[in-house]
Chain length 130, copies 3
């Protein structure tokens, strides 16, 4: 039996995968990276994180959802030392983006690489929609 999916496709890989897939009240999102409007990633990790959440917000908005709907985050970073050195700045900015203390579970690991060598963080979120 087929299931009823709502899809949001966008960006250069729109034919390959969806940025978000909703079935019932579950919303699965593709990992988001810190690219700006030109498709480039700034050098700074905090800026990349901020831009990545911007993409997360964009995807959520396509499903009439916002960051309150996120329940789980996985952060894949390429330099955990850099990440921990900036942890206060990162989490302060993240809280600002959430508008409050985030109500999400989180897992943070260092990977060996992301799709482009300039990417320092990829954020994969799962959300629940009423």
């Amino acid at each position: 039996m087929s299931i009823n999916k709502k899809l949001y496709r966008s960006g250069p890989y729109a034919d390959l995968f969806s940025q978000g897939v909703q079935v019932g009240n579950g919303l699965y999102m593709a990992g988001q990276v810190g690219t700006d409007e030109s498709g480039q990633a700034p050098d700074d990790l905090v800026q990349q994180m901020s831009l990545a959440y911007g993409h997360v917000k964009d995807v959520l908005s396509q499903f009439d959802a916002n960051m309150d709907n996120i329940v789980d985050e996985t952060w894949f970073v390429t330099d955990i030392d850099d990440c921990m050195a900036k942890v206060e700045e990162l989490f302060s900015e993240r809280q600002r983006l959430y508008g409050k203390a985030p109500e999400v579970s989180q897992t943070l690991v260092q990977v060996a690489g992301l799709v482009d060598p300039s990417f320092k963080i990829e954020i994969k979120c799962i959300a629940v929609i009423n």
Copy 2:
């Protein structure tokens, strides 16, 4: 309170984990690697991807499901440069396996290693079943 799980156990690690676990309409699947019938992985990444999706299909079929039921994929690869160099071939073959443009979210990261040094890709899927 206990929950009602439907399990599919298979392969050399059948006692250690299930290839698929269904509760309600959610189906969680173990990461699948590109082994052939002899348990070996061919050298080519595209072939490994193809074989891995073959295992995904096998697991889905145990739950009367197929690739249309997949909502989310995480690809763990050991060489992202090799992966990106072959991205057109990979995604063309993947679309063939799906039978259409896949309706799934996707996250792709390079890990430092998989269970066997010959493995180049592991694909972890979440599916929803009606």
Copy 3:
């Protein structure tokens, strides 16, 4: 529309993320590492695994759940060779902790690093609650 989350916050990062987030019957848990009561991780991988599951159990108990509720595990390890060399010991101890053959799907990858260099394993679980 906002969703109804039940959160469990604990530990040094309680303001940054929740150890568990329940919405409906889905429980998402933060990755757990093998720290003891002093916050230190022992050198041995098996001991770290055991301690990590201890934290998983603690989180589950906050939601009136136990290890039977786990449906999916992702293991992020820093040395897959060490992990495979100890695979029998690891899975024997894990089965003891579960109290039976675990009824979960599992994915195991080697990452490039975890939050602290002393950490050898991080276990991310998804559970379902009746």
